[in-house]
């Protein structure tokens, strides 16, 4: 844990064995959801514009400075959060921090770059209409969150993006990327003494406080009938959504274990065994929990020949039902816990991954002792907890289902 002279906190893991530095920064609750509806897509556009030139460096010069020094500075916007990801050779770290500082404090937002990126987004929006998976997920979220920013297309719309200007970007940057929302993780060949002043340089001039963000529960709106988006495809792409949990839900670990057994465990999940291994209905069938700040989401998908959609959905629904009624077997539960505990350290084998985990822990309001606490929390989940949370969250008769394709026999 590092606290800068100016009071900015970061989590640091010193790792001198490889000459690289990874820094992950998240502005909590500064994501796309903060945009008014007529500015949908502003988060993504801002993220793309921030490394398009700053200070005396135009877009080209800014990019050249990165490539010449083995540096990558990039921004991204999610529905909830806004992020900066920095990678640098240790020897170029000074330049890397300088570029990030420039991007945050003196971005140029030149007309040429702005028009170019707006053209690029407009094209991507058209291409999104070619991708069955994107069509499915856009429809899924629009239906689940009809009156919430989560329901908007993440890239925005052709109208909203074309109307955005540099003043809008400046305002979003100033009002949303504030100091009080910062969450920082750093891993690499750098000491706490070196990092402290860097934090002040990068973030010290940001506005101290953003407007309060109401974090209120907004459950997805579910429905009984599948939505079919007609497309002439040989294979239907299906996505479905049920209730999940937020990260602070008391049932979080029970839901986590439940989802692993049901559809999160790759080749070992019940959905894969029933849909793929026993019946050969699909190459891929999966589910995962998305603990959004303002909603708990359980989401999944399958892709299968048009004439097998109905059967696949029947099998999936019956697995939800089985989990609700009977829960997991004792052995199945024990094996799930072994995996979830045993595999966690595997993701901590690279600097980049550790930096991401440091940020994730802080976003979830966990302490550094979480690494030790996590196995206890998972081991405490009982078979009945899993059954109970499945019953609470997953209603097979009220599953939001979107099918993109020409499914056969889904009518009834």
């Amino acid at each position: 844990m590092v606290k800068s002279p100016g009071g900015i906190e970061a989590w640091l893991v010193r790792e001198p064995s490889i000459p690289i530095i990874a820094m992950e920064v998240v502005w909590r609750d500064a994501g796309e959801k903060r945009a008014p509806a007529n500015q949908a897509g502003i988060g993504g556009l801002l993220a793309a514009m921030l490394d398009e030139g700053a200070g005396d460096l135009n877009s080209q010069a800014f990019a050249e400075r990165q490539q010449d020094n083995g540096i990558s500075v990039s921004f991204s916007a999610g529905r909830d959060h806004f992020s900066l990801s920095l990678r640098s050779l240790s020897r170029s770290a000074g330049t890397a921090f300088e570029l990030a500082e420039l991007a945050l404090t003196r971005p140029r937002f030149d007309d040429e770059a702005l028009e170019r990126l707006k053209r690029s987004i407009a094209t991507q929006l058209i291409r999104d209409q070619e991708q069955p998976g994107t069509i499915a997920s856009t429809t899924l979220y629009a239906t689940a969150f009809p009156s919430h920013p989560y329901g908007r297309p993440q890239r925005g719309t052709a109208e909203s993006v074309s109307a955005l200007g540099r003043e809008d970007l400046k305002a979003f940057l100033a009002n949303e990327l504030t100091r009080d929302r910062l969450v920082i993780g750093v891993v690499g060949d750098i000491t706490a003494e070196q990092l402290g002043p860097v934090l002040d340089r990068l973030f010290g001039s940001l506005k101290a406080k953003g407007d309060p963000v109401a974090v209120a529960e907004q459950p997805p709106a579910l429905r009984e009938r599948p939505i079919v988006v007609d497309r002439d495809l040989p294979q239907s792409v299906v996505q479905f959504m049920g209730h999940g949990v937020r990260r602070d839900d008391p049932d979080y670990y029970a839901a986590y274990v439940m989802n692993y057994i049901l559809g999160g465990g790759g080749f070992n999940s019940r959905l894969t065994v029933e849909v793929r291994e026993k019946r050969g209905l699909a190459y891929s069938v999966y589910s995962y929990l998305i603990p959004m700040r303002e909603s708990g989401i359980w989401q999944g998908g399958v892709a299968t020949r048009n004439d097998q959609v109905a059967e696949s959905l029947r099998v999936i629904r019956s697995e939800l039902d089985r989990m609700r009624k009977k829960g997991p077997g004792e052995k199945e539960l024990a094996e799930a816990k072994t995996f979830l505990n045993g595999s966690f350290p595997l993701q901590l084998s690279s600097n980049s991954a550790i930096a991401g985990t440091l940020v994730g822990m802080q976003l979830a309001d966990l302490g550094p002792d979480y690494i030790d606490e996590r196995p206890k929390l998972i081991n405490a989940v009982t078979a009945d907890d899993v059954r109970r949370v499945a019953e609470r969250l997953l209603d097979p008769s009220k599953l939001l289902v979107v099918v993109v394709g020409r499914p056969v026999g889904l009518g009834g």
Partner: protein
Amino acid sequence: MSIHARMMSALAAAAAVLAAVALASPAGAASFDPKTFRLASGLDIVVIEDHRAPVVHHMVWYRVGAADEPPGKSGIAHFLEHLMFKGTKLIGPGEFSKIVARNGGRDNAFTSQDYTGYFQTVAVDKLDLVMGMEADRMANLAIPPDEVEREREVILEERRSRTDNNPGALLAEQMTAALYLAHPYRIPVIGWMHEMQGLTHADAVAFHQAHYAPNNAILVVAGDVQPEAVRALAEKHFGPIPARELKPRKRLQEPPHIAARRVTLEDARVKQSSLSRYYLAPSYSTAEGREGHALTVLAEILGDGRTGRLHKALVVGERAPAVSVSAWYQGTALDLGSFGIGGRPRNGTDLAALETAIDKVIAELLENGITEEELARAKSGLLAGAVFARDSISTTARIFGSALTTGSTVEAVEVWPERIEAVTAAEVLAAARKVLDPRRSVTGYLLPKPTT
């Protein structure tokens, strides 16, 4: 289960880009410093130590891929990869991954034109277990026939997901078939649908018999291990498996290419047209001197998304004809490599105009060569990429596995940064003039189908 060719080509390109170490870093970073052994049975072993975390990435690579399939059996290499999870004399169908997971590990596999790989990421104390399981399915594969029937449906769905549902992938498949006149790289790794439908249990068993032997495999272990301990474990598990007589990997070779080819796919699902071009190129294995390295540098200079020539000429500026452009070199191949260019026009520009504009950029480069500044910048990016590659034990292991299954060597990986550093502007120009020859190319147009 599988990362198939179309994805693989991007990945292999990345691996080529990343193919090595930090020798160039003034910080004096060491190289991967791999240790290599060979067992009496012919199994090659590569160990790369990384002691940052008590984790190990364990891979078994076979020197066999889709380009080694018998005629009419396209997809069998990849199908066998799936069936390798369907049981042995000791382990039941579907149990392999369950055992790995029960031990806190993750596993998967992949198939390309030149190699097939299996891997597990596990805590270091589980290395013994997973190595034993890999040795077991090398020697004792026992696939129940009814599993073949079901799994065939799975690979057909996989083909629909990856290829048939995606017009861009369909065009790439057609272009690849046109690029190679004779070489089996023309056939997709996933297979042609009609041939996949006819693949049998006997086909899979025969393919396993012919190619899955210790003298056709490479064990790559990266992570928190000591080389001698890995050698001992390998002796224990793979040592007893006898070598097998192998047929040489001889693929049909290309005749001279004398005519530029064009492929157009009109598809009602396409909303945004795009173009791409593939050129036949030497691979790292077949290249003369530093030709492969020069082509890697050339791909950066032409194709970098921000500083590349194509981006600057065709994407930047008010009247720019494109919204995005790219260039890549696929040099990780046993036989021929390829060089590619792609572009998406802005609204109101047609593909022919974009193609003309791309050709102008290429012609200018072939006429005047590259600048020293461009050369230095491209090298910096590539050499930094080689350092970043070391951050991941799976990337590290993959670099060695793909090199050794495509005719390259551990030494070549180790000196990759030095050779990149040594590339001259003249070498880049010579490589560009040789490779960017329209007669050795296919140009593909992806267009919306006009509504009738």
